[in-house]
């Protein structure tokens, strides 16, 4: 009797320890996480003549990553995320064109702050609503910002935009080059910093609470979570990151037009994220890269008909791979692990 008791106690201790380990180690870096970064660095050496395109991919990865925070983790569905991308894009655009403030890195900070402020204010107002209502309100926000820009086209440049912007050399040393090498590395470094922040947030207790809100908001209220403030906080952060992505967009293209606020832009980033897989950090990388590369390839194949290819892929993903391309890889990995057993 005493023997079997001590055995069960020991077993229970082991079960406990194993369960605790899982939570204790969850946030540790895995080797596979180096892969997207290695690919991005390899691309710099393998296709050096496509670095302008590469920068656009990195900008969209960052934009999709910001959406993942609110859509993938907190479960906020928005169709107006381009609003914050646009505010960031216009912050550096207007600063360079109207105020001669063309230092790029401080421009990123300014864009993050401007987009963050708008994110905080609209989030505080709108995040009391959910579902369809929220969808329409976020969409309307982006349209209203776009129309405000259109109304004051004397400042914003309207739909002709602000062309031919020039920015100061990075850190006062590295100048813009024709192939976009400098800006590719600049965008990659910025993405790495932003990603580190997002990763910390996702694995923090706050990030867990966001997942809780996504999974069951009624339960979160019942256990005492200040749900509205959690949502406003993450919405503000996501807006600031989208603003940085928008600022990078303006800086790498050296122009910006009001189309950055387009519904198209909001929808595109959501499609990218769903393609890659929501709520899994690297889904933004896979989704944005797959989307941009396919768009590039299809549009050369058939300039009039390229969206069909993207549409077909999206249909296949939402029907047969609900967790996105990345989820497909995960399922394959789990399948292999099962077979090993």
């Amino acid at each position: 009797m005493a023997v079997s008791d001590s055995v069960t106690t020991a077993n229970r201790g082991q079960t406990r320890e194993r369960a605790a380990e899982f939570i204790l180690k969850r946030h540790r870096m895995r080797a596979a996480e180096a892969l997207p970064w290695l690919v991005a660095i390899a691309a710099f050496f393998i296709v050096p003549d496509r670095m302008t395109f590469g920068s656009q991919v990195l900008v969209m990865v960052m934009f999709a990553l910001s959406l993942d925070l609110i859509l993938g983790y907190a479960g906020i569905v928005t169709l107006g995320h381009a609003a914050f991308f646009g505010i960031g894009a216009y912050t550096v655009g207007l600063a360079a064109a109207r105020l001669q403030w063309s230092e790029p890195i401080s421009g990123l900070f300014a864009a993050a702050i401007a987009a963050g402020i708008v994110g905080f204010l609209t989030g505080w107002l709108l995040l009391r609503y959910r579902g369809l209502t929220l969808l329409m309100l976020t969409l309307a926000t982006a349209i209203m910002l776009q129309e405000t820009g259109n109304l004051r086209s004397d400042i914003s440049g309207g739909y002709d935009g602000l062309p031919g912007l020039t920015f100061k050399p990075l850190l006062g040393i590295f100048d813009y080059d024709l192939y976009g090498h400098t800006y590719y590395l600049y965008a990659l470094a910025t993405l790495a910093v932003v990603f580190y922040f997002v990763r910390r947030i996702v694995y923090s207790p706050f990030g867990q609470a966001l997942t809780g809100i996504r999974e069951n908001v009624r339960r979160m209220h019942a256990i005492g979570s200040p749900v509205h403030w959690r949502l406003v906080t993450v919405y503000t952060i996501a807006a600031a990151i989208a603003g940085i992505a928008g600022a990078l967009f303006t800086q790498t293209n050296a122009y910006v037009t009001l189309t950055v606020f387009d519904f198209d832009n909001s929808a595109k980033v959501m499609v990218m994220l769903i393609l890659g897989g929501t709520g899994r950090l690297y889904g933004a990388f896979v989704g944005a890269a797959v989307y941009m590369v396919l768009e590039d390839y299809f549009s050369k194949l058939s300039p009039a008909f390229w969206q069909f290819g993207i549409g077909l892929l999206l249909v296949l993903v939402v029907l047969f791979a609900r967790r996105g391309v990345l989820g497909l890889f995960e399922s394959f990995g789990e399948y292999l692990a099962e077979r090993k057993k």
Binding site: I23, S204, F206, G224
Partner: protein, 255 residues
Amino acid sequence: MSAALQVEGLNRAFGALPVTRNVNLTLERGARCAVIGPNGAGKTTLVNLITGALTPHSGRVMLNGEDITTLSQADRARRGLARTFQINQLFRGLSVLENLCMTVGERDGHCNNLWRPSGSKRVVIDEALDHLESLRLTDDALKLVRELPYGRQRLVEIAIALAQKPRVLLLDEPAAGVPSSESHLILDVVAALDPDIAVLIIEHDMDVVFRFAKEIIVMVQGAVFTQGTPEEIMNNEQVRAVYLGQEGHHGGRRG
């Protein structure tokens, strides 16, 4: 000393239909009170009004002497008011352990932290595991909630409420939906609750009610019909007619 929970003159209507009519009730510290009544009597609405999921049209809710009528659900929860739901409200896509860590994390304010990895606070994990162990859920710690049988999920629901370290606990039909072969597990847990916690239970099973409760409130059509000790309720002719009487028609299954 003021009562753990006091409800005064609570009223609520859905449109023209009054669902809670001038309800008064008092739970002393350590109370064991059952609310019974036919379907649609407004029992769950009462729980929703007390926890703040619904706003009353008039009346007051006091928790340990503090008026909490205008506070949000979350503020009430942080003051020691916990509930379980009639239908499970769990984080189905997360593991059982994560469900508990979330609760402990929100209770102690850890979830305000955006930077520290959630796994770095060993005390939170240990406490979450303690709660699971006390309900014999340790073996299921790493399983996703949605993979558990409904009866086990029901236990997680209770574990979460207990992990809030409540002073007042509202149990809305804790054994609902659980096969009778497993319901004793849940009822044992309910019977063994910390005697300091004031407990209000909504339950249909009269065996449970008479075994558990020291006081019974009978609700009919949104109002308190009568209240008293189990003996008083059992011997109350009107209650038998309105509610228990139905059982009499079925040939006195209770012997």
